[in-house]
């Protein structure tokens, strides 16, 4: 008799158990479903098979069953299988929790030259120096920064326009670098700025400390100037000059740009993308308006329903593919983020799409007046008179912030897997909770997810990307997968800061 045994004698037993999974009927094909594991591993399968799966009618020696096993949706023969891969995937997905907040935003001034109708930060006149960060607050904020355990710290300077208080940018940077001689963290510096009036002297300092620049560019000149009014009506030209100068000092990848989409923008996705191409960008971020700052007050003029954004996005995506097919590589950072969640098992650096909430657990904002917030949105709410999400101020140790009522409010609504409706959503392993946006829009951090713009937007984009991927030819599929693979650290920073 042979010492070897046939394949059948190693087969799984006919009984199996279901592991926790979720499914969603495909909106474009009701006979099939997107089925996902606890860690967000997934496959598309006929609804009929979903029903057989749940009824324990699938043969355990079938290829479909092997696919389900390999994605950790079922288990047969618990003594011979292992949950280690599932646990590893979950750990990898949620790895952003391990180090503590990595993104630290210093608001050095609220002053700004612009009077943008959608401004997220309630800007102040350029002469209003009382809205600058004071020396004492800056010192304390740096002390707090090093109380966090994260080995990697991204320090982003923001405003208003941080260049209007560049002295403080320099002072804080120097203090952090000095303090880090003993602390030994990995530091990354970002300046979020219009880049207007950027000087060689400033750039010499930024280059010395390896800064990256993040700016706003809304599209072609007419659109950018319409969105971002300055009395001199030259915002576009000044930003483009700043981009060129920045690249000269910091390298081609030293400058990234974000687009804020107004109602006007929605008409011209092609023009916006072509503008980015013309300026040599290989990545674009198409951001819908946030419900904060002046944006809520002017929502009727500049705002739009999510459906309009999605229609815009589909058009933009098609154009982007055409640009890539014509030989110019450009990705859209939010698509890359969602595709990375679909096509890899990795976590990500983007704060708004985390569960538990990225606010407070992933990012901290040190405001010009010494107040501290878990996210930019919380700061904007406070600027509008609602301090529900204020953590405290820079004179307090971080343990006080972590035990603040704001943190409790955040965490109670901050785990998407435990929120009504989200708990059953097949996209939840790759999505976030974003309690502050729900509070701002719906008056409650849990919110009503079926009518939430956040859900409508993210689910709409997941659906769109999946459908688009399925229908695409091999070349486009490969392109979409290439966007999913983790990018250079620069793009992670931009994601985090977006």
């Amino acid at each position: 008799m042979s010492r070897f045994r046939a394949a059948q004698s190693f087969a799984a037993p006919p009984d199996y158990r279901l592991l926790p999974f979720r499914f969603r009927r495909l909106p474009w094909d009701e006979a099939r479903a997107f089925v996902s594991s606890m860690a967000g591993d997934w496959l598309l399968m006929p609804m009929q098979d979903v029903q057989r799966l749940v009824a324990h009618q699938l043969p355990t020696d079938s290829p479909l069953f092997a696919d389900l096993e390999a994605r950790h949706l079922v288990v047969a023969g618990t003594d011979r299988s292992s949950l280690a891969p599932l646990l590893s995937q979950i750990r990898s997905r949620k790895s952003y929790l391990l180090g503590g907040p990595a993104l630290h935003i210093f608001v050095v001034s609220l002053r700004c030259h612009h009077t943008c109708s959608y401004c997220q930060v309630s800007r102040q006149e350029t002469t209003a120096t009382t809205f600058d960060m004071a020396e004492s607050h800056a010192e304390q904020a740096v002390e707090r920064l090093f109380e966090w355990p994260s080995q990697e710290l991204t320090i982003e300077f923001q405003g208003g326009e941080p260049l209007l208080n560049f002295g403080q940018v320099k002072a804080i940077t120097r203090r952090i670098v000095e303090r880090n001689r003993t602390a030994g963290r990995t530091l990354r510096f970002v300046l979020a700025s219009t880049l207007h009036d950027l000087t060689d002297a400033q750039l010499a300092f930024l280059a010395e400390h390896g800064f990256k620049l993040s700016t706003s560019l809304d599209g072609p000149e007419w659109l950018h100037n319409a969105n971002r009014p300055r009395p001199s009506k030259d915002s576009y030209r000044r930003t483009v000059d700043g981009i060129e100068l920045g690249r000269r000092w910091l390298g081609e990848d030293g400058v990234s740009a974000l687009t804020t989409l107004t109602r006007q923008s929605l008409e011209v996705p092609e023009a916006i993308i072509d503008e980015y191409r013309k300026l040599g960008f290989h990545s674009i971020s198409l951001r819908p308006l946030s419900p904060y700052g002046f944006a809520t007050r002017t929502a009727r003029r500049t705002g739009y329903p999510t459906e309009d954004f999605l229609a815009f996005y589909r058009r933009a995506f098609d154009h982007l593919l055409a640009v890539n097919r014509a030989g110019y590589a450009m990705d859209e950072s939010y698509a890359s983020l969602l595709l990375s969640q679909l096509f890899t098992s990795f976590g990500h650096g983007y704060v708004d799409l985390r569960s538990p909430s990225g606010a407070g657990l992933g990012a901290v904002i040190y405001d010009y007046d010494g107040r501290v917030y878990p996210s930019d949105e919380a700061r904007m709410l406070a600027a509008m008179g609602d301090g529900a999400f204020a953590l405290g101020d820079v004179s307090q140790p971080i343990s006080r912030w972590l035990s603040s009522p704001a943190m409790v409010r955040l965490l109670e609504a901050g785990v998407a897997e435990a929120l009504p409706t989200c708990a059953d959503c097949a996209f939840v392993p790759m999505c976030g909770a974003d309690p502050i946006e729900h509070y701002a829009r719906q008056g409650d951090p849990v919110g009503h997810r079926p009518s939430s713009d956040f859900c409508r937007r993210n689910m709409g984009l997941f659906d769109f990307l999946l459908q688009r991927y399925e229908a695409a030819d091999g070349e486009v599929q490969a392109l979409m997968r290439s966007w999913a693979v983790p990018k250079s650290s620069m793009e992670e920073i931009t994601d985090a800061a977006a």
Partner: protein
Amino acid sequence: MLPLETRAELAPSVKASLLKVVGLGDFAQSTIPLERLALDLRDVPTAHVSDALVGLPWGAVLPPIGLNLADAAPAVRLEGPAGLCKAGDVVELNPLQRKVAIRYRRGDTGNVLFATERCNSFCLMCSQPPRQVEDDWRVRHLLDLIDLIDPDEPSLAISGGEPTLLGDGLVDIVTKCAEVLPNTHLHILSNGRLRQPGFHAKFEGLHPNLSWGIPLYGDHYALHDYVVQSEGAFSETLRGLYALNAANQRVEIRVVLVKPTVERLVQLARYIWRNLPFVEHVALMGIEPIGFAKAHQKELWADPADYASSLSEAVTLLAEGGISVSLYNLPVCALDRSLWPFAVQSISPWKNDYLPACENCSVRNRCGGFFSWVTPAWTSRSVSPILEN
């Protein structure tokens, strides 16, 4: 290919021992004591051989042909080709069986520290069938051998059998290598099965250039366990892989392209990318028609011509994810051209033979070729010379 063992005539004073072969030109630089050296005088004119030289306390002396040494001298006369061993090699003398084995060859790219004959898997295609023998003595033996290996040796494999069955003996071997061969790349060929929690953690920081090659034959246990003929192997190997990653070990996944594995090759690639994205290299290897494989030709043989598209898809999937991929033991004429950059010429001389059909092939110099013992039943029907200038 040179044999690893030969018959020999050993003088009565020769003891069973491991010795480093040295020539007259290089023994002066050696830091190894004379007792652990075999002085190679085979090419030295007899006029240059003095009693004083031979009378030093050598472990052995390989005398010039035709010269008789004093009876007390530890003379060793090798049969077989002269090139069998040379200065820098390590030989094992076995006076009882009158044999000399070559345990290390200077300049050879395929030197192996053979850890044990035992294995806890019983793979359908095993090229080196295991034996259940008590061979823990090999640990002592390898520790001695490591002392005699050139400190600038670029790479060594630690293989078996299953090296982790040595338990702490394997830890001792790697520790010893860290002491005397810190610049040598060590590659442990193991099935990775974690049986004792905490075992893999012992390798953390142990050697500056250590990696593991671990086979995975399926994306679910029924498939993997069948190929390695051992229930529970899949789950133990996965746990071992995570334990190695937790111990900051560099890991290569090795996949022998046997038929049942090939049938789910794309799924396996996806599984590796999703669950084991930390692996630094995936080696996809044509089957070696030797050992147990010969008894399972029907179950195991898959013609690369029949799985070309899934091979392409699997390679693409891994390469896109940033995991480097290599194809071994597959003739390039059986591969899609897009895969040629992944095809690697084997470093082992017995894997680089060619068929008569290869005579006029223009890409022979970049082809993995065939095992010396390949037969038509194990040869792709698509083998044909690539003719281009």
